[in-house]
């Protein structure tokens, strides 16, 4: 078996490029697996002790994590699905090339699957030990209600932010569609919706989720606790803010709290430097971007494991 080792991976990318030089196929509609978010996620997954576990990935992307879980973490088997039906087909190809010997342990759930909202996904989830996901935490800039809220805060949508990249749904979610979930108010509606479904469909399963911590780790932990999970941080890294992702979502949250006496309770967390020595609020970060759109900005990404309290 060709070796697949994170140590051999070029620095800045823990993507499993195998020792025999096979690299994943990454069309424009797939989330780029060389992104530091995926690197962070995989380091957290490595620490989670997943040997022998049955895993389901919600939002499978290129399938890079499936290959990683099968080859590097000794998972018993991995299932997975995505909202974009092209991705699961891509993932099957990538898993076959990156993890040929374990490819038969991948059970894709084909078609368009939002969260785990099909019978097949639910049947798989019911026999899963660990559910993993890294889902969007920013409302779609084109969302009608979000646009009204943005206008009410007099926050401009930066130029170009309304344009849809091919991998748009990897970064943004339809905000109003998840408004029944309380944590939607801070961009966590899609993630909270997944936790509720897991609680119903797989009440004893653990979850391991990857988050951008721009909204603050405290409130992410509160979301888990409010939904009956006990969270712990497995791994965390400071990464560069993706230049293409709009941060005005965070700016409008801060602005809506201005003058209410609650503004100190929720301050978004960006950094001006890689060492995270100089914190910036979202409004400060946006000011820097307005002056120079190429200003490097950083934020924490962390991997959280959560176990159901009742289990």
């Amino acid at each position: 078996m060709p070796d697949l080792n994170v140590d051999e991976i070029p620095s800045g990318a823990s993507v499993p490029v195998s020792a025999d030089g096979v690299s994943p196929e990454v069309p424009d509609f797939a989330f780029d697996p060389t992104d530091p978010w995926t690197e962070t996620f995989q380091k957290g997954l490595e620490r989670a002790g997943l040997s022998g576990k049955r895993i389901y990935e919600v939002g499978i992307g290129t399938g890079i994590n499936v290959a990683f879980l099968l080859r590097m973490c000794g998972a018993a088997h991995v299932s997975g699905s995505d909202l974009d039906p092209r991705l699961v087909v891509l993932a099957e190809r990538n898993v076959r090339s990156l993890a040929p010997e374990e490819a038969n342990l991948f059970h894709p759930v084909r078609g368009e699957v939002s969260l785990i909202d099909t019978e097949e996904a639910q049947a798989r989830i019911a026999e899963t030990d660990v559910i993993i996901a890294c889902l969007p935490q920013v409302g779609d800039p084109g969302d009608r209600r979000l646009t009204a809220f943005r206008k009410a805060q007099s926050v401009e949508l930066p130029e170009g932010a309304g344009e849809k990249a091919d991998d748009h749904i990897a970064h943004y979610y339809p905000w109003a569609a998840f408004d029944e979930y309380p944590f939607n108010s801070v961009g966590l509606g899609l993630n909270e919706a997944l936790l509720r479904r897991i609680r119903d469909q797989a009440p004893t399963a653990q979850v391991i989720m990857n988050f951008g911590c721009r909204i603050g780790t405290g409130i992410i932990f509160e979301m888990f606790e409010a939904n009956g999970f006990r969270p712990e941080k497995l791994h965390s890294q400071i990464v560069r803010q993706d230049a293409g992702t709009d941060i005005s979502f965070f700016v409008m949250l801060e602005k809506a709290l201005r003058g209410t006496g609650l503004e100190k309770d929720l301050v978004c967390v960006f950094f001006a430097d890689e060492d995270a020595a100089s914190p910036l609020s979202a409004s400060e970060a946006q000011d820097l971007l307005d002056r120079d759109p190429d200003t490097p900005l950083f934020h924490e990404v962390c991997v959280i494991r959560a176990v159901p309290v009742a289990a």
């Binding site: 209600r145 009204a148 809220f149 009410a152 408004d179 029944e180 309380p182 944590f183 939607n184 108010s185 801070v186 409130i219 509160e222 979301m223 606790e225 409010a226 939904n227 949250l253 809506a256 709290l257 003058g259 209410t260 006496g261 609650l262 309770d265 929720l266």
Partner: protein, 66 residues
């Protein structure tokens, strides 16, 4: 009390509750008011009320044990 149309803020502390209220009020027509807000038992209602300012009259805060 019928709270079926209430905005659910369970699990949220004061700041995200206030955001949720402001988001819910955007674009709402007057006859839909006051909006019922199901607040978390642990949420500091006094503080929330003060922070609501001019929106205070547009909402009714309701807390009920889960």
């Amino acid at each position: 009390m019928d709270v079926t149309n209430a905005i659910d803020c369970n699990g949220l502390s004061a700041a995200p509750t206030l955001l949720r209220i402001k988001q819910a009020l955007v674009g709402l027509v007057d006859h839909a008011l006051p909006l019922e807000i199901l607040v978390d038992e642990g949420c500091d209602q006094e503080r929330l009320r003060r922070s609501l300012g001019r929106h205070g009259g547009a909402v009714r805060l309701i807390s009920r044990p889960q």
